[in-house]
Symmetry: C2
Subunit: 278 residues, 2 copies
Amino acid sequence: MKAIHTRGGKALVVGITGAPGAGKSTLTNKITCELVARRKSVGVVSIDPSSPFLGGALLGDRIRMSEVSNLDGVFVRSMATRGALGGLSQTTSDIVKIMDAFGKDIVLIETVGVGQDEVDVINAADIVLVVCVPGMGDGIQAIKAGIMEIANIFVVNKADREDADQVVVDIQTMLDMSSHSDSQKTPIFKTVALTGDGVNDLVDSLLDDFKSSRKKSEALEERVKEEIYCLVEKEVARHIRAKLNKNGKFETVVKEVISRQRDPYSVVEDMVVDLINP
Amino acid sequence: MKAIHTRGGKALVVGITGAPGAGKSTLTNKITCELVARRKSVGVVSIDPSSPFLGGALLGDRIRMSEVSNLDGVFVRSMATRGALGGLSQTTSDIVKIMDAFGKDIVLIETVGVGQDEVDVINAADIVLVVCVPGMGDGIQAIKAGIMEIANIFVVNKADREDADQVVVDIQTMLDMSSHSDSQKTPIFKTVALTGDGVNDLVDSLLDDFKSSRKKSEALEERVKEEIYCLVEKEVARHIRAKLNKNGKFETVVKEVISRQRDPYSVVEDMVVDLINP
């Protein structure tokens, strides 16, 4: 990872998220095809936290994805995380960096928006597409809180359904009410991923962002800071565990907490003082 | 939290997890009623990471829960985490401790098994019920990897469906194949949460565990260690962020990483050396 760092920073990283069944995989597939048709090289990271043990779309996804992965200039990495998401954001970030260093123009990260780790993954993208569909309860309820705030582009997929326009209106209303001034400029696209309708316009917009995305230096600074914080915390945590385990007193303290002679909070206060100012 | 520590450690903490739609809320409700009928006081922590924005069961859940919460000796705490799960395990652990200190005999934690934070929550329970249902693809696929290993009791809910016995057979086969010797003794109960069928036997088993659960001192030691590690890491992380932000060099380093003069991994190595041995 050290060695490739100087080669990176060129790819546009696009996060694609939305509820299960919104057609994210099909859309990712169609976006990839369109990008390839425009002579872009594409990396795809597909994160599937619940499959193969909940829901049954995985096999279909793989088939669709393997179709795309035969295209020139496309590399697909599928990750079934099987319930244990710890470290997902770091692993994904590393894979994205490798694809970037390898020279991919665009890296697509596709994931269901559930859990802090996934939100972290999506936050690390340059652009976030949030995919909504008609018919998942009230339109506005189909959009998850927390995900809404990070959307740079909304896509109403399955837009051939009759209530699609209502979903667009609902999203627009929500954006208009938003306190973020940026939100009010968030574009909404309608697509039918199955047929490819609307994907052209969406890709136009992505490639426009490709040109202008270098401007977001403030966000980039925050992201790099966050990455360094996380790496430092991970390293320090490893040291702390090793240090505590070597310390014979730790076992005694644990027993005292279990027997309720001491409480863990005071114990931790003492430990932290020792660790910060040894 | 410090002040109540000496009062805790008496409650049996039961984690209830399983796929969405498995009937966890209804089952939790029926278990609560049965426990109350046996003159136990019950705390319920209901964690709903995706609702109210995905799926529509929430309102029903609240109604069912508010019914239970009117019973004597029952306290219900419902948490809609809305996509941002960070800190969930600490918050839940604190709520459980408060209920324990307050004198609840049994604390039930109900949650969909998705995400690392949730697995941590469930891992902190004395006993973990994994709820399966017929008709969610192949029986064996309905059980999530990662969750399976932590199950102390399997419940096949909606057992009035015709393929329920096949699910029991599938789980039993899986347990027989397991490398964990403990797994082979994991009991499987059949329930129909809607009518309450089978809940009696399940509660018998829980209360048996109530008596014998004090034996698991090894697991308890691991759990307390893990809690102390996590609290220490959180505290130290806070100090690290504050320290880095005060350090004028940090901004420079971030800029060097962005301009690709330095890579974040080497930067972090240097920082950690400074932090561990200042």
